[in-house]
Symmetry: C2
Subunit: 215 residues, 2 copies
DNA sequence: CCTGGTTTTTAGTGCATGCTAAATTAGTTT
DNA sequence: AAACTAATTTAGCATGCACTAAAAACCAGG
């Protein structure tokens, strides 16, 4: 009885991401993140609380319980394995894999998950540079600094690009700014910053460089 | 407005399969096939009729319209491509691919569908021997005779094995009775029939041989 | 052609998930 | 501390899709 629905999985995943480094999440935050009305979020949170997947007391915000976090990490693992699989084995363009994974993550069986992981060589990172949780529910969480924090003249390796905007991602991909790429910060400009990458020199708008993190 | 839901897709697929070679399908048939109450089926049929996906007049049964058939074939294509992909590229055991595909078929984008088809070399058959509809919605439908119709002494090629029972399928797979396998009918026995396959001789129970078709 | 049995449909419900509008609580400002 | 504002919750309702029970239509045997 009461299996975790796909919608619930989305809530758990969103809460997981929002609560990182914070001590609680508010109703309006998930509502905004998931694009639903605040009342709908309240409703679902109460349902998740009844299932002991989030700890909640009204008007005070909430966090995942261990059980909730376990499910969230499982879904995130699905998501990131699918992204990587689609990119590597089927050549799906990077800016598309996020939205494909968003739908597939809810129907991936443990069996197929395991086989995909094996086919990929048990990877630890998805194509955006995000860590893939292990099947035991462990994830090392590293937070890389934004590209703009790199001092002029310094070199860095792209560690992460945002998965939120397909258009942005496509532009970054075309410029070669993807996880693993080595670049050198040349300096800040009025509307962004100038970097050198693979011998080419380019200016990244503020919007673009905001979505790149380096190591 | 009114996108075709996953549940609707299941109804369309079921109607497609039931109406093969018949001139109409009854409420109780889909209800049985989908494991829902007759009233639920009536309800959904009326909804599909409003969307012009089935032609329906009450108490008289129904059939798919061209638009409905197009969607049904698209889902069947998804299903069979996924089955084949899982079997060939991820090594998922044959008796499992049907149920995996049953969930994934509803979330496969055209993009990923096309890439899977390419990776598989635009196949025309799934691992059970069922034909895969083309992306333009064409499917050649061949109906093969049951194994038991093979005359004693005659040779045949396994063309199709049923996808309905995982347990049966596992047994067939273990015996090597899979699409493409060449076998020779030795004769009927009281409880099934005896065949020779790859030099080995085996007796297939009636239940088993019922789910095998030959060419 | 009527009557009993089967199939189908209608009516009324329940649950998951969403919404808006109204009520409540929290937090901030004077 | 009172009062205003912003966030949250409650109340009431809609839609998709299932169910059961009752009514209606169809079909077959007499």
């Amino acid at each position: 009885m009461s299996a975790i629905s796909g919608v619930m999985q989305d809530y758990l995943k969103a809460i997981y991401k929002l609560q990182q480094g914070r001590d609680s999440v508010s109703t309006s935050e998930i509502a905004a993140r998931l694009g639903v009305a605040a009342a709908s979020a309240t409703n679902m949170i109460k349902r998740l609380a009844r299932l002991r997947l989030v700890a909640y007391s009204r008007y005070q915000g909430f966090v995942l319980t261990l059980a909730g976090e376990k499910i969230a990490l499982e879904i995130i693992r699905h998501h990131r394995l699918i992204e990587l699989y689609l990119a590597q084995h089927l050549g799906v363009p990077l800016e598309q894999v996020h939205w494909e994974a968003e739908r597939m993550e809810h129907v991936l069986s443990d069996e197929v998950e395991a086989r995909m992981a094996t086919a990929l060589g048990n990877p630890v990172q998805d194509p955006h540079g995000d860590p893939i949780p292990a099947s035991d529910g462990t994830m090392r969480d590293v937070r890389y600094p934004k590209l703009e924090t790199l001092a002029p003249g310094a070199r860095g390796v792209v560690a992460h690009v945002s998965d939120q905007s397909p258009a942005l991602l496509r532009r970054l991909a075309r410029l070669g700014v993807l996880p693993g790429a080595v670049l050198k910060m040349l300096g800040r400009r009025r509307d962004g910053c100038e970097v050198e990458i693979e011998g080419r020199r380019l200016t990244l708008s503020h919007t673009l460089s905001e979505s790149v993190r380096v190591q």
